[in-house]
């Protein structure tokens, strides 16, 4: 029960911050709101006894969103949001889509028959098992992901840097 409560609590926090992201007109604020939304998701992981992933999520998002924030400041007209201008378009469509998508997912999650709940494992065992998984069976997948992100980083940098002519 406590587990459900905490999961729900952090879930609500994540949702609230997620809403704030698109309701404030200050770019830095919305980037930080996204950060805290993602951190709340990490907290949900912790509440669901998935310690490693939770901590990892909380750690990674800090840097990611801070970088997001600086790009916002770079590429927005009014990062302080004092103009309070409207940066949205096709509002009706997107609201409809959002509601529809959300509702559909909710319906699925509520109506779907999910079978029985399995037992949880101790965090230490989890970390060890995950390590075995990563460097054992899914080694290839993991390495591929690593190579992919490296490639993407190099490609992105190559695209971004100034052409010297």
């Amino acid at each position: 029960m406590a587990q459900a409560f905490f999961t729900g609590f952090f879930g609500l926090a994540a949702i609230w911050f997620g809403v704030v992201v698109f309701r404030t007109s200050s770019m830095v604020r919305s980037a930080l709101a996204l950060l805290f939304s993602q951190a709340a998701i990490g907290a949900m992981f912790l509440a669901m006894q998935t310690e490693f992933l939770g901590v990892l999520q909380i750690m990674m998002m800090a840097t990611e969103m801070a970088i997001m924030a600086i790009f916002m400041v770079m590429y927005m007209m009014d990062p302080g949001g004092l103009g309070g201008m409207d940066m949205t378009h096709q509002k009706r469509l997107s609201i409809a889509a959002g509601i529809f998508g959300g509702a559909a997912a909710v319906a699925v999650s509520l109506l779907g028959g999910w079978g029985t709940v399995g037992p949880s494992t101790m965090p230490e065992a989890q970390v060890a098992a995950l390590g075995e998984e990563l460097l054992g069976r899914s080694m290839l997948v993991f390495e591929t992901a690593g190579i992919t992100i490296l490639t993407a980083m190099i490609a992105a940098t190559a695209v971004a840097i100034e052409r010297r002519r």
Partner: protein, 299 residues
């Protein structure tokens, strides 16, 4: 109970570190100094800048303090003297420290001043430079301990300290730790001569007191991390465990505070360049070295 004990020791350590800093900066050892300084700050006005991003401005000092405390929360002062002995302790330290940067970016953006803003973004760059050098030496340490649990990491050093088996990682982590708590020569976000105090420039009175306290706690947490990961934590003869931890932590903190006075502040681009072109390869070498030794021992 443990929580209370650890917190008391943490803030006591912060006080002592403040005394040490006063000593290194003024040359006079005044044990009452930090107390009077704090009271003076609490007794002063603290007027908010006129057009701040109020939320960020007010949250930043608290977030800085919280993240510093959380970083210390997973580090053991003694065999059973730890607030939360997580299965992923070594990773949780990084997670907590990442929010130091978030707090500084908020403190830079919040008060609506150019010096602070430049300082805040500067620290983001600094993080890009040092974060890898926090993570990778810890990885090597965890490899030797075969666990991410901080207490296990300390016990794994019963034979010999990690500082001796992996000096490379020790040096890198030490420097990175100084960069995390933006002590000289890594004090780019507070540079007094360049940015008139940077992120601190706009805080005054009680708020400034919180910032200073958070800074001190941060120094203690990082020194504690160095102690736990590389200096064998509570291990040591005669004295009780917590005494050894405190002793080592204070020595580390004192070194951190004094070392920076004898070199000029580094340029941001140099921090970045050296962090990536020099630090990360060395950290990889360190990891390989540890891996090889482990393999050899297991054979």
């Amino acid at each position: 109970m443990t929580v209370f004990l650890v917190l008391v020791m943490l803030f006591a350590g912060a006080y002592l570190v403040a005394v040490l800093e006063g000593w290194t900066s003024t040359g006079r050892l005044r044990f009452a100094g930090p107390f009077w300084a704090a009271v003076a700050l609490l007794g002063r006005e603290s007027i908010v800048p006129r057009k701040p991003d109020r939320v960020l401005y007010e949250t930043a000092p608290v977030l800085l303090l919280v993240s510093a405390v959380l970083a210390a929360a997973v580090l053991p002062l003694g065999p059973h003297l730890v607030i939360a002995d997580l299965a992923t302790g070594a990773l949780a330290v990084n997670a907590a420290l990442a929010y130091v940067m978030v707090a500084l970016v908020m403190a830079g953006w919040g008060p609506d001043g150019a010096y602070a803003m430049v300082a805040g973004w500067r620290f983001l760059g600094q993080l890009v430079a040092y974060s890898m050098l926090i993570v990778m030496p810890i990885t090597a340490v965890a490899m030797r301990a075969g666990s991410l649990v901080t207490t296990t990491i300390v016990e794994s050093q019963a034979g010999i300290w990690n500082a001796l088996t992996q000096p490379l990682g020790f040096v890198l982590f030490f420097l990175a730790a100084m960069a995390v708590c933006f002590l000289p020569p890594f004090d780019l976000p507070t540079a007094p001569g360049e940015l008139a105090g940077g992120i601190e420039a706009e805080y005054a009175g009680p708020r400034l007191a919180v910032v200073r306290l958070a800074r001190m706690v941060l120094v203690v947490s990082l020194s504690l991390a160095v102690t736990v990961f590389f200096l064998g934590g509570w291990l040591g003869p005669f004295l009780p465990g917590w005494a050894w931890t405190s002793l080592k932590t204070l020595v580390v903190a004192a070194t951190m505070l004094t070392a920076g006075r004898y070199v000029p502040r580094l340029r941001g681009e140099h921090v970045m360049e050296w962090g990536w072109k020099l630090g990360i390869p060395l950290a990889l070498v360190n990891i390989f070295w540890v891996g090889i030794t482990l393999v050899l021992r297991s054979m």
